[in-house]
Structure formats: structure tokens, C-alpha cells
């Protein structure tokens, strides 16, 4: 049978009443944990793991997968409405999504996020069906030097993530990577900046920092400011206009491709794909100045990319049996519980599971778009809920989220500390996004460089002798030097700088 028939067969399997029910529960739960800041798919799946011993294998897996991509739909909701990302992969959506909400365009922002998620998610499933084995092989070419190149290239995206002054953005990125160095040294195992505090040995987690920086700080800012001024504006419409669609069509296409490719590289955080998608849009836009002021492309591209990336993120697990992150490791465990050893022969040996899950993802994405579009009207009503009621709730879910990620009170303390840090950053106009970029890329870059240096016995040539690594190193250099080469732009920037002063 060819791929198309296998996939059709999978859809039929997934459409059986039991599988459909589990699938619906999965995407519903996923949307819920996605919307709630702090709670994420990993926590929900860990909680449902004990059920694995009782539930039918395929239906159970359909539910778990449903949670993962359902969460990518929900993540943008709070980013847009209250400037607090529901998931780390929706951090970047805060910038333009929330700006749109402030202009009374929360509806189109939520709408394009949902449609983008649907398009990116669905196309990526076909991508996985047709390209999984080939892409898995491609992913294997990424050893430590290739990661180092890719991460260095990723850092250059910083230029496009910053809206304010560059020096402040650099400072924040540096701060983020410094924070990432807290914990056990990944190579020697020696503690760094842990001050003999046990929790700090595990490092500073992304989730508590993101909830603190965005969630807690937003609550603190609103305590100080007159609450409720933002959303007095009338909400014009609930769905994107024709113009919105025209503006978003290409960003959604590019977001799908970029997210899909980056997601397939083992160990690359989905967050990186969203940052990359945003950076690309701003770079090629004819009006980059619109970004940060409610550009719909700034919502469409990253929200598409995170769905595509989280879908192609299954490739290393499903076609090679290699879990690449906390969520994939949990699913790996769930497969093992059912006696299904994921590995290179998984698709061949358990076709009903592989194609059943893929089929269910197509159904699930349809369910999600049906579920999410009517919800937009409801979410917008949430904006009318007074802050004194909404924010304690956000704080509560933040605390639960920070706690459930690791089951440790230490993470709640970290969250609160970063709430205060985030508040101070907002007061003094430092942007949190570059800091998140530093926190995500910092540890990947560090381990990649140090592993490369061990491999090469200290010769820096390793970054330039291997073709993929050399390509990214070259691309990074080009990105950094291009402003110097394009003199007109440099001149423009200098004039702009002088104008500001």
C-alpha cells in the first residue's frame, strides 16, 4: 500500500468511536493546559501515565498525542489576550499578538493563530507521513559541531527580536545564557552558581522563568497601573479580514516549512522554531517597523511554526525510536509500557499504531479548529473579566504549573523571583524575549561547543571542516556582517539613531 492509502486507513482506524473519544479528550485537555499559563503538555501526560496500564494502547496514545498538539493551539490565547504566554512556544506571539489585542483586534489575532496552527499542523502531518524516514536520516547528520553552527546562526536572530535599543537586547540575551549556566556543568558534572542549594543543581528551568517573567510580572505591573484601561476599546470583529489573510498567507507558508524542518532536528526546542519564524518575517518584510506594533505576520508565522515543529518533532521518535525532549521521552515510556519498543523498525512492526496516530492527528486538528473558532468569542469575553479576579487566577495557575513541572517548591520560588525581575525589566524598558532566547540557546550552544572541542582535541577547525557546520558558521558570519556590507542600511540606521537622540 502506498502512503496515501496507509494514511487513509489510519484516519479510518482513528475514527472508531473509542479512538475518537480518546482523541477528543486529548485535544480538549491539550487546549486547556495550553491556555493555562504554566501548565503544559508534559505535566498533563505525566499525570495520565498511570492510566497507560489500563487503557487500550492506540486510543491511549491518540489521547497523549492530542494533548501535545492541542497545547500548541491553546498556547497563543493568553499571549494575545493578557500578554502572558500559555506555553514557552508562544512567548514570541506576545509581542504582536498582544499589540493587536490592544488595538481591539484580539479576534483576528486569535483567529489567525488558530488557522495558522491548523494549516501548519495538518501540512506537517503529511510531511511526516511522506518524509519521516528521509528526514530522520538527515537529522542524524547533526553532531555537536553542526549544533554549534546552527545555534550560533540562531543567535543572530536576536537582531530581529529586539524592538528597543540593541545594547539592552544583547545584555538580556547574555543574562539569559548566564542563567542557563546555573546547575551542574554538563561535561564535568561540577556545580556552577548553585551555592549548595539542591534545587539549583538542576539548573533554572524554562517554565518557571517564563511564567515569572511574563505572568507574575504582568500581574505586578497591573497592580501598580490603573487596572483595566487596556480593553475598554470595542472589539471590532472576531475573525481575520481579507487583508489579514493576504498578509498572513506567505508567513503561514514559510512558518510551516521552517517549523517543520527545524522540528525534525533532534533536541531543538520548539521555542527556537517560533523565534526563527518571527525573525524571518521581520527580516524579509518591506515594513519591519510594523513588527511590535501589531503586525499580523508576527502572530501567523510563529503560531504556524510551533505546530509544524511540534508535529515534525515526532520524527526522531517514531522513525528511529529516539526521544528528544521531555514530552517525547514520556511518550517513549508510554509506548514501552504497552510493549511497543520504538526504534528504526517501529513503523514496519507496528503500522497500525503509527498510521493510527497520524490519522488521529488529522482528525484532531479538524476537531481543534472547530473547537477553537467558537472559543474566540468566549476568550474575548474573558477580557471583560476584572483584573482583580483574573490575575489571582493567573497567579494560581502559574504556581501550580511551576510546581507540577518538577514537583518542587524551589521552582515556585524561582518563578516568583523572576516575576520581580520581570517587573523591574518592564519598568526600565528591558525586553524579556531576548532573555528567553539566551536561556534556550545558551545551554545548547555551550554543550555543542564543548563537545565539539572534546571531539577535536581542542582544534577549532572542526567547525569549518564539516560541511553542515561550515554552512551555518558562514551564514552566521554573513548575517552579522551584512549590515556592514549594505552601506545604505547602515547609513539609514545611523540617521535613525541620531534622530532618536
Amino acid at each position: 500500500m502506498d502512503t496515501f492509502h496507509l494514511l487513509a486507513q489510519g484516519i479510518l482506524t482513528a475514527a472508531s468511536p473509542l479512538n475518537l473519544l480518546y482523541g477528543f479528550l486529548g485535544v480538549l485537555l491539550g487546549t486547556l493546559v495550553g491556555v493555562l499559563p504554566g501548565l503544559g503538555p508534559a505535566g498533563a501526560i505525566a499525570l495520565l501515565l498511570p492510566l497507560a496500564l489500563h487503557a487500550p494502547p492506540l486510543a491511549y496514545l491518540i489521547m497523549l498525542f492530542g494533548i501535545t498538539y492541542g497545547a500548541q493551539y491553546g498556547g497563543s490565547t493568553t499571549s494575545i489576550l493578557v500578554n502572558i504566554p500559555g506555553e514557552a512556544s508562544s512567548v514570541i506571539t506576545c509581542i504582536d499578538g498582544h499589540a493587536m489585542a490592544r488595538q481591539g483586534r484580539a479576534g483576528p489575532a486569535l483567529g489567525i493563530a488558530a488557522f495558522g496552527s491548523f494549516i501548519g499542523g495538518t501540512l506537517a502531518i503529511f510531511g511526516v507521513a511522506y518524509l519521516a524516514p528521509a528526514l530522520a536520516e538527515f537529522g542524524l547528520h547533526f553532531g555537536p559541531p553542526e549544533y554549534a553552527g546552527l545555534m550560533l546562526f540562531g543567535l543572530t536572530a536576536l537582531v530581529y527580536l529586539a524592538h528597543g535599543p540593541m545594547d539592552k537586547a544583547l545584555l538580556m540575551a547574555l543574562f539569559g545564557s548566564l542563567l542557563a549556566s546555573v546547575g551542574l556543568d554538563p561535561v564535568t558534572g561540577q556545580p556552577r552558581f548553585t551555592f549548595d542549594i539542591l534545587v539549583l543543581r538542576d539548573g533554572i528551568g524554562l517554565t518557571p522563568v517564563v511564567i515569572g517573567l511574563f505572568g507574575v510580572s504582568e500581574v505586578l505591573v497591573n497592580l501598580r497601573a490603573r487596572a483595566g484601561e487596556v480593553f475598554q476599546k470595542t472589539i471590532e470583529r472576531l475573525l481575520p479580514t481579507l487583508q489579514d489573510w493576504k498578509d498572513s498567507a506567505l508567513p503561514i507558508t514559510r512558518g510551516t516549512i521552517l517549523g517543520f524542518l527545524l522540528g525534525a532536528i533532534p533536541g531543538l526546542n520548539v521555542v527556537i522554531a517560533t523565534f526563527a519564524a518571527y525573525a524571518v518575517e521581520k527580516k524579509i518584510s518591506r515594513h519591519p517597523e510594523r513588527f511590535g506594533r501589531g503586525a499580523i505576520e508576527g502572530v501567523a508565522a510563529p503560531e504556524t511554526a510551533n505546530n509544524a515543529a511540534s508535529c515534525s518533532g515526532w520524527i526522531p521518535l517514531l522513525s528511529l525510536g529516539l526521544p528528544t525532549g521531555s514530552v517525547t521521552s514520556l511518550i517513549f515510556g508510554a509506548l514501552l509500557i504497552h510493549g511497543l519498543a520504538p526504534g528504526p523498525l517501529f513503523i514496519k512492526n507496528s503500522p497500525e499504531i503509527f498510521w493510527g496516530v497520524l490519522g488521529s492527528m488529522i482528525i484532531g486538528n479538524v476537531l481543534l479548529i472547530i473547537l477553537n473558532l467558537p472559543l474566540i468569542g468566549l476568550w474575548i469575553k474573558v477580557l471583560r473579566v476584572p483584573y482583580f479576579f483574573l490575575f489571582p487566577l493567573i497567579l494560581l495557575f502559574g504556581i501550580i504549573g511551576a510546581y507540577t513541572t518538577s514537583g518542587n517548591v524551589g521552582d515556585v520560588v524561582i518563578m516568583i523571583i523572576f516575576g520581580v525581575v520581570g517587573y523591574l525589566m518592564k519598568r526600565f524598558a528591558y525586553e524579556p524575549t531576548p532573555m528567553v532566547l539566551g536561556l534556550v540557546i545558551g545551554p545548547l550552544l555551550e554543550t555543542a561547543i564543548r563537545r565539539s572541542m572534546i571531539m577535536s582535541k581542542g582544534h577549532i577547525g572542526i567547525f569549518f571542516q564539516r560541511p553542515i557546520a561550515a554552512f551555518f558558521m558562514g551564514a552566521a558570519l554573513l548575517m552579522l556582517l551584512s549590515p556592514l556590507l549594505t552601506r545604505r542600511r547602515l547609513g539609514h540606521e545611523i540617521i535613525e539613531k541620531l534622530g532618536e537622540q
Binding site: L32, V33, L39, G43, A44, A46, L47, L49, P50, L51, L53, H54, L140, H141, G143, P144, L184, P186, V187, G189, Q190, P191, F195, D196, L198, V199, R201, D202, P266, G267, P316, L320, G321, L322, P323, T324, S326, S329, L330, I331, F332, G333, A334, L336, I337, G339, A341, P342, G343, P344, L345, F346, I400, S406, G407, N408, R451, I454, M455, K457
Partner: protein, 322 residues
Amino acid sequence: MKLKLIIVALAVFGWSPALRGQNFPNRPIEIVVSSSPGGGVDLVFRLIAEDLAKNLKTQINVVNQTAGAGAIAAEKVAAARKDGYTLLGSLLGQVATMTVANPKAPANLVRDFQPLAILYGYAAVIMLGRADSEIKTISDLVAQAQKKPGDLIVAVGPPGTSLTLEVELLKRAAKIDLTSLPFAGSAQAITNLLGGHVNFAMASDVAAQPHIKAGKLIGIAVDVESAVLPDVPTFAKQGYPQVNLLASVAFLAPKGLPDANAKILVDAIRKTVQEPKLQENLKSRGYNVDLRTAAADVDKLLKEEIDKYSRFTPEDLGWKTQ
């Protein structure tokens, strides 16, 4: 939401603590597992807890507490009430490394814990090579390493884990120089071996098996005979008995629980693990089922574990304090 889910789970699967006349256990037992949910250590405890709950006629909650490389879980159980309702489910080596690195720490394997049952050598660590390489055995590897000291690269696990330390033991025993390249765990190590970025990789046998079956990788040696890869010879059989940090998992209770409660737990664990259905279940998932419960036996194993890790410095074990 967590609470809701638990309630739903309870309602659906109807675990209710049987209120019978017996004194122990008459309320839920908590097993604190110091490894992440869904992993090999977690899974073995979940499988056993499932049937153990039926035998003890009480509910058993498996909770994961991974912070501080397992130290926080160990401290929590060490400080818990000594009644048998709070147990630590842990990789024995994990608690042993903490103890060796800092005997005065709040949780000390020998001072604070009473081992109830040990699943000895519960899973094998395997040294993998590429199927297209000439090196098929440990003696091939040693010969090659002697020719080109430091040129062969082994992907190992995080510092202090048996994936890493067993390579150190091999280096010492064979007097060879290999370059250890640390990764986050088995999956990453295997990925880099498949990609050809390293020459060998240390991994769990369960994670490695599909790749050997697919003909991409070969098993060079295991530290203990593997249930899923019975054909791969041990380090000991190939002349290096020193490479022996066998991974065992243990049910540990806080020291000083009443003998009667300990006996009920030990008997129930023994009975549960001896049931053919669970044995089959564990073996099919790649676990070795060598259960030790006799008091003299488990105490000896505990001391052996400490001795094994005493061969390393706290730096090697990844537990040096600042």
C-alpha cells in the same frame, strides 16, 4: 486540575483502600520515585506497584520527585514517618553516589534507609559500536585504543552515572585512553553513534535493542546479562570483571520502621514479584528479575554498592559541593 484528574482516575479505575481489620496497611502507601516519569526506573516501580496494591489491599501512589538528582526524594523519605507508608523507589547507585560523595548529607544510604527489596542488576548497560566498524569485541577495542591513544570517542551519559563511570573503569582496567563525550542519556548517545559522530556509545539495553535488531549497531559488551540481548557477552566474560557497576533498583524504607510492617511489605513485594504474570510482564519489557529480600542479603548488597562507588572521587561522581 491535577486533583480533578486524580479523582477521575480513581473513579474510573476503582482503587479504594480496603478497610479490613488489619492494622497495616490501612491507608494509601506512597512510593517516591527519584527518576523521571516514563523512564526505565519509573516503569519498573509502576508495574510492581500496580500488583503490589492488589496484594496489600491498599492504594499505592507512585510520585516522581527528580529534583537535585534524586537527593530531594531521598531526603524526603529519610525524614518521613517511620511507618512504612512512605517508601523510596530508587536506583541504588543514585543514593550510593550521594552517600559516598558526602556521607554527612541529610540522606545517607546506610545510616537512614532499610532496604526492603532489591531488584539486582535490573537492567543492563550496553557498550554499542557501529555495525560497519571493524571493532566487534572488547579486545578489538583495547587493541585499537593502544594503537591510537585517545582517538576513539565513546558517547557516555551525564557525569556520575553508570553509563559514564563504567567507561572510566574500563580505561583503568585495560590501561587505555578513550575520549569520553558526555551526553544527556542513552537516546542522545545512540543518536550520535548512528550519525557517526562517535565510535561507541553507552546506553541502556532496552533503548539499544531496536537498533541492533535493525542491523545498524552492534553490542560490544554488557555489564550484566541482558534480558533483551542475551547474545551480547559481559565485560567480565571478556576479561574485565572490574567493569561492574550493575544497576539495581531498590524499595527503601526509612530506617527504624516497625519489624511487623517491614515484614508485611517484604512478604508482599516477594509474593507480587514471584507471580508469573508480572515476571513475564517485566521480562518482556527487558528487565532482569533477580529479587533479593533476605535481610542479610540486602544489607550486603547495600555495602557492596557503597564499595563500588568508593572507587571514585566526588568529582567523578558529579557530587562535588562548591
